[in-house]
Amino acid sequence: MKHVRIIFTLTFTVLLTMVAVFQINEMTAGTIYGNQLKKLQEGLLKVAPTSYDGVLEELTGDYDLSEIDLERVYADQDKDKVVVYQAYAYGFNSAQPISYLIGIDLETNTVSGFLILENYDSDGYGQNASNPLFMNQFTGMELGPVLNGEIDGVAGATATTGGIKASLNEVIAFHNTNFGGGPVGPTDQEIREAMMEDIFPNATAFDKVTTNPANDAIINMYNVMNGTTQIGYLYEATGSGASVAGGLDMIYYVGINMDKEYTGFRMYDSQDTPGYKDFYLADSYGDSYNGVALGEEDTIAGATAGSATGAAILASVNEVMAYHVVDILGEMLDRPDPVENLNVVNAFDQVAASYVSIYADQAYDASILNVYELKDATDTVIGYIYYGKSAGYGGAIEFAIGIDTTNNTHSLIILKENESWEDAKEYASYTGDELFPDTTWLLNWQNDTVQNILDAEIDGVTGASTTTGNRERNDGLIFAIESVLKYHQTNTGGGE
């Protein structure tokens, strides 16, 4: 009897509460659905252009969105006034994406509005992205700058801004592909083709070389044709920009004609600091390559502000040039000789009986101009002198470093430079009073074993970062000297 009562009471309670819950659900389900609809609709209206007062239709089903973080696509009936995207961005809290709307005015090809719908990032940090100041900056922006990530971040929301930039990049790319026709402006493909034609105005065809060039810097290579005659080579290449250690990529095109001269340069994409990179994005910089002979890259003038970017570009162009000469043309690169600059010999502590250039027998390295083998009176090898170069703030720097047979470095001497280290003195981290090249920083590379120096990962000098360079960015003296040391290990010294 007792069990019956227990079971009865339990069942009865559950049934009764279920009935109540179901009833209330029927009462509220419609309103809840309406709320969600309303929130989205209100958002859509907020990001659509103020001039547009029509209805937006959902077109999500028309596209394959499986590969990108796009949730929904809306547009006006004729698809010629406005498109709105609902997309996801991954901020600091990567597990909980930020959901946002972006409207694009198809008549002016600008952003008509940006609205964050849901943001689960932390208060005081990523949550700051929901600040109207951040969201309003998009209104009226052209799509190019949005694609290039020229968006002001908000304090505390660095990771979140980065996530939004990355997501916008995808959305705009999707937009350019799908709404790229008509008045929307050139597509990505059109922009690239225009650049290629700028470099080779006489070309009738760009034949893509299908085998991948064996070089990290080169993305694509084209044989440039005029009718059936080849008039040059076009490289699409990448290099590390200067603004961020570790490098954000830049992508550029550079052309070389059959007379071993550059025919032009165009920067396609650069993640470098706005303001600094503008100089290099302009056609005037690209045109300054016209007619410059291979190997004479140092004569191309960079900008005063953002010279690190210029140095990074030149370092990458140099690499392309070396690949072109050695691998495509099968020629030797210019290996300037000898002891015409007598100061080179000062890099080795001992005076040798003979200095013979052995570079012609060895692999080419963009940082090395020449290699000398030093022998004493008994014809025994006592060491090597490397004659190297790197791109500096004021043009090319040439240096020499001696390494003996026990793999110890002797002196590092600077043979040519035009650096100004006045600025560096203002930075507290630079303790040396002397200006380049009479600086104690150079002592770091002297009188130690090659391996020890490489292991030490010597830091650059704050305020003179273009001269001293950066390991990750592959530029400046640090990169050049370390290239020499590694070259010594694999080719001349350590390999044995």
């Binding site: 009471t9 339990l10 309670t13 209330i24 809840i32 208060d123």
Partner: protein, 207 residues
């Protein structure tokens, strides 16, 4: 000796002060810390708890004589869970912003020990009127408690009250609106409440 039954007034005020769920009994700590980022969500959570606690105390007190002792806890839980679900649906329908800011903690009213605690300790032994009064007093005490915490956190952490900016950004203590800040504010407040209570006790002993 039978204990004297408390008057209705005493039942009501117990929850507000002497047995305040937030500062004295430490019941329902999760929402106490989680939803006190802003005064608005604290008040919203408080309203939700008032609804659920008053209703659950009423229903449980009404059925207290029919429920077999062995299954009383599961039955209470079913009733509370249903009430919470109903509350959730109402909030989502009529105050969607509030519902999304309370998030999972709205559902978690089910396991707020305050609700089940009052059901077991009071509603199952008292008549409906007294139970409703007890529920209302306790829930109001809870609301007051979390609102006080929220005032401190929002005012000093985000520089605003109910969304109105009061303190400029450079004087805000950002950590207070973060998870860790909840522990700090609550800890300091409890210590001060303790101090006041101890002073009172000392005085009454002297008297």
């Amino acid at each position: 000796m039978a204990r004297r039954q408390k008057s209705i007034k005493e039942v009501f005020s117990a929850g507000l002060f002497k047995q305040n769920p937030t500062f004295v009994q430490f019941l329902g700590m999760c929402p106490t810390l989680a939803v006190t980022k802003s005064v608005e969500s604290a008040l919203g959570m408080g309203a939700g708890v008032i609804f659920v606690l008053v209703m659950s105390n009423l229903i449980i007190s009404l059925i207290r004589n029919f429920v077999p002792k062995e299954v009383r806890i599961p039955i209470y839980i079913v009733i509370i869970a249903s009430l919470v679900t109903i509350l959730e649906m109402f909030m989502k329908a009529y105050t969607p912003e509030l519902a999304s800011s309370l998030g999972t903690f709205l559902s978690l009213i089910v396991v707020n020990c305050l609700i089940l605690g009052r059901a077991e300790a009071f509603a199952s032994k008292n008549n409906p009127i007294r139970s409703v009064v007890d529920g209302f007093g306790m829930a109001l005490g809870f609301t007051g408690g979390i609102t006080i915490i929220a005032i401190f956190r929002e005012l000093f952490g985000a520089g605003s009250l109910l969304g109105y900016s009061i303190i400029p950004e450079q004087y805000q203590v950002g950590i207070l609106v973060q998870a860790a800040g909840a522990f700090l504010v609550f800890g300091i407040l409890v210590s001060q409440v303790n101090r006041i209570r101890m002073n009172k006790e000392e005085r009454s002993e002297v008297a």
